[in-house]
Symmetry: C2
Subunit: 244 residues, 2 copies
Amino acid sequence: MKNICLVLEYVGTNYCGFQKQKNGISIQQILENAISLVTKENTKTYPSGRTDAGVHALGQVVNFHTNSKIPPDKFFFLLNNILPKDIRVLKSFEVPNDFHSRKSAKSKTYIYKIYNGKNFSVFDEDRVLFYKKPLDFELLQKGAELIKGTHNFSAFVSSNATTKTTVRTIYRSTFQKKGDYFIYCIKGNGFLYNMVRILVGTLLEVGSKKRSFDSLKSLLNGEDRNKSGKTVSPCGLYLKEVNY
Amino acid sequence: MKNICLVLEYVGTNYCGFQKQKNGISIQQILENAISLVTKENTKTYPSGRTDAGVHALGQVVNFHTNSKIPPDKFFFLLNNILPKDIRVLKSFEVPNDFHSRKSAKSKTYIYKIYNGKNFSVFDEDRVLFYKKPLDFELLQKGAELIKGTHNFSAFVSSNATTKTTVRTIYRSTFQKKGDYFIYCIKGNGFLYNMVRILVGTLLEVGSKKRSFDSLKSLLNGEDRNKSGKTVSPCGLYLKEVNY
């Protein structure tokens, strides 16, 4: 029995999210179907984590077990021949039997893309958030800086979520400006449900002068969800990489 | 009666091309419907030229006549409220009554995007040509340079086309390299049917050492269509701007 790891890129727009669901087509369903076609086995895949409907991936990591004799690196080619145009395997390789995409992960990096100009491009539809109120880059940077470190992120988790602890450690939290685009990058040891999207929603309030640094700071000490900003659209969010 | 000019951006993927057709949804049809909804008049639009199915625009120019009292610059906002997400008005303004988007045009600029690396991104699907054979940037540049000037482009027109003359003048023809991407830019006083796509198909043969400079040179003296390269996919082609 081999344990095969896949690194995946996908456009999330057409799917109900990564995870299999009863009421929609998921990336996991499509991927497991493709693997089963190749291996002639029933397949169960283990992702580094779910991504929500409309969220994209530049480097999602998934593993699965197989008795197939197909050389591990050939899954790259065989699966890309079957997968739809918006899901692509970037690499396939064998990993130790105890490797688990989620449990073995040390950290994850997400980016969130925002456009803050006057002419939102049709080519950015479903891929970038169009934010119309003027944003102050320096405020965004300073706000992002506050998020680094270990905090209780209870104010930044969807109220539907159930988790043992809401404490997480953030290694990187930065904004970059490229013309009218603002790119937020966050790397942490784990993320709560909707955490990046609520953090961005709150940072956009800081960047548009609707929320003070002090307010953001106090939110990082374990506040209620209703005190933080709104959950921004999934369309600007990309799972960039998973680190092991 | 006012003459209104629109500058449009669109993703061509979902349409049968700019021009109205019996067997598909065109950008022109969608645009005229939207204008009619706003002006409550029957509308006829005049584009700077057609774009084929799957071809994109960053700056297509279209004009139409109206008796509506709507301020010309307000069409920008009113039409964008109605148009689908893949078609967008960048500007709207009044032009002299004798202005005609095609007849008044002095030149047009197209770009063509090519990816020549190993990992074609899902985000480039339908927007960039994936060319797998290795390309030599210097050969591409030198080949592109030969196209500048006034030539008989009879080898670079779809065999279905009927045109009085196949002589055109090219003001700019350059390749740019950005990582694994090659961006071709061509500006000319006019373009024959499929001309840019056949030029790119032929330049890719030069860049992959399948065709000599001499062969390309001789094609520019009025050769048959069957001597030049293939018509590359519409997906990499963008009408960048129209100059008046």
